[in-house]
Symmetry: C2
Subunit: 340 residues, 2 copies
């Protein structure tokens, strides 16, 4: 492999000059540039990134930190759509993506992660740090690497999805359809920041329409389909007069629909059900599911742009990404209810 020195010799200039031409400093004449570029062509020179990284203190690598909090990390569509937004921005800036998946437990992060963060290999980080029991941010802060977090853990630069408004819209949608007897399938508190925000939104909308938050029948699932079934069974048995269910994610909603059917309740004619996330199955299930879609690629894109702006010495504002209510077949006006 040819080095800078080979190019310099061939062009009849010093390595310093070649370096300057190649890194687009303004200090050279057109004729020098031509000589250098010709030599680059002829030698097939390509910069050695590790050498450049050592000398310049920049690696052109951004770390994308997806903590390994559960097995499904690589198949979670949300995470992947975020990556989909990150990749083109990095590519465009000539940056490479190092995929970092620390094992995150209540006792902290793993050793390999710590080493990597402190290794000088990474110019900036986009983290997906959003579980209450632990954070990946601390070693990053300590090392002083610029970081943008997608999630609710607090740092200087953040991108969040508007979970609160999503929850608000779901409740509002059901109220507008005339529903008054609404059950909730949520999850245990302190399990997930987004879920907490969603619930706050649901409650705010309930209060805004004059409902008493305390009296909303509630069951607690764990995001899984089966927990949705169990919760629906519980709620519908205890409160047969319910006309609608708000589920904190789509998978529980799909489980709830299955269970409602089993108990002889048609969806949506006798029971409206809403979910959250707009997973692919939500558009393909029967009935299709009314839900909230967040713009994950946009979150990735915004986070990456923020990171580059930080790397350029600016201090961008944090971003709240809007969500969208997707009305499908699983909700309808309450029978005999009055539309507002």
């Amino acid at each position: 492999m040819p080095t800078l020195e080979d190019v310099a010799r061939k062009a009849g200039v010093s390595t310093a000059t070649v370096s300057k031409v190649l890194s687009n400093t303004p200090y050279f004449t057109a004729s020098t540039r031509d000589k250098v570029m010709r030599a680059v062509e002829e030698t097939g020179y390509m910069p050695h990134l590790a050498a450049r990284a050592l000398a310049a203190g920049r690696t052109c690598i951004v770390g994308v930190v997806f903590p390994w909090v559960y097995d499904g990390i690589f198949t979670d569509p949300h995470i992947l759509h975020i990556l989909e937004g990150i990749e083109p921005e990095c590519s465009q800036h000539g940056y490479n993506i190092l995929l970092i998946t620390p094992r995150l437990t209540t006792s902290g992060v793993d050793e390999h992660y710590l080493q990597l963060i402190r290794s000088g290999y990474i110019d900036g980080i986009i983290a997906l740090d959003n579980v209450p029991f632990a954070s990946v941010l601390e070693p990053i802060h300590k090392k002083g690497i610029p970081v943008v977090n997608i999630g609710y853990h607090v740092t200087s630069y953040m991108v969040r999805s508007d979970d609160y408004t999503g929850g608000y819209q779901l409740m509002q949608h059901l109220v507008a359809l005339g529903h008054g007897e609404i059950g909730i399938i949520d999850v245990q508190p302190d399990l997930n920041y987004s879920a907490e925000e969603r619930m706050k939104g649901v409650y705010a909308a309930a209060e805004a329409s004059g409902m008493s938050v305390e009296s909303l029948p509630t069951a607690r699932g764990d995001f899984s389909v089966t927990s949705g079934e169990a919760c629906a069974a519980d709620l519908l048995a205890r409160h047969p007069n319910l006309t609608a269910l708000i589920c904190l994610n789509d998978r529980m909603a799909l489980g709830a629909i299955q269970q409602a059917r089993r108990m002889g309740r048609q969806v949506p004619q006798q029971l409206s059900v809403v979910g959250f996330d707009d997973i692919p199955l939500a558009a393909a299930s029967d009935p299709t599911l009314t839900t909230i879609r967040s713009d994950a690629p946009r979150m990735g894109r915004e986070a990456t742009r923020m990171l580059f702006s930080v790397l350029n010495g600016q201090t961008p504002d944090s971003v709240l990404c809007p969500v969208q209510l997707i009305v499908r077949q699983s909700t309808t006006a309450v029978k005999g209810g009055c539309l507002t």
Copy 2:
């Protein structure tokens, strides 16, 4: 950040010695090691990877090359399950994953990809190189980086899914259920290597059971749900006596089921339908889909192990990963047919 020299000074030895202790060469006494390790502790030393890469010629980075052949790259479950198998192996070996997504067109790969490959940043590569019209392997070969390919493009080390056997099993399954009038929904040749192999398997099984391959009614889709619908409409109109359809992927199979229903054919009572891939929806659709599952995480794992073995100077054998027939509700014995 403390450097090797800081550690050496504090331990009262040379940097060469510290380096030897840290890289586990056998050339030091226990007492030296203790001194060094204590100094490492006290200084909080962490090796600078770029410096190490430059000096040692190893970066501890493996590139995972997923060519950007279509938008869905980040949401294709198959790709992600492969990544799921790659990550733990790399992590275990102390290697980091650089995610490389070259834009692949008939005119070749993009410039940024070429630079990266030739940059000296990457010790080894796992590629997912499997579309007939272009390959990402050539620049890798040219640069001489060890590479394992997951797919049908030829290189020294390869991992493939046994598409052929998958196709064979689907046909065999239908024949065993007594089906004799079987339609095929395939895709255009030269579009996808895996699809070609699947078809070869289907044909081989057909011949093995005495069918004439030429007479199999066939329609050509493009992997999409809607193309599955169109193909089913075509086939069932032209050949009303068909009792089963083999579709080269699940999405076309799901489309075919929809269309069959619309045309008044119950699945599976009046028409058995099989797919290929076992996408998540295959287990959740109505009816659930009989299909072929390939073990993507295993493919990722095998490829990574092969790569590390190549990096260690060995020459591992290529791997053919077995597939599995998943029998679900969309297939049943032909009415009045004789089970063999």
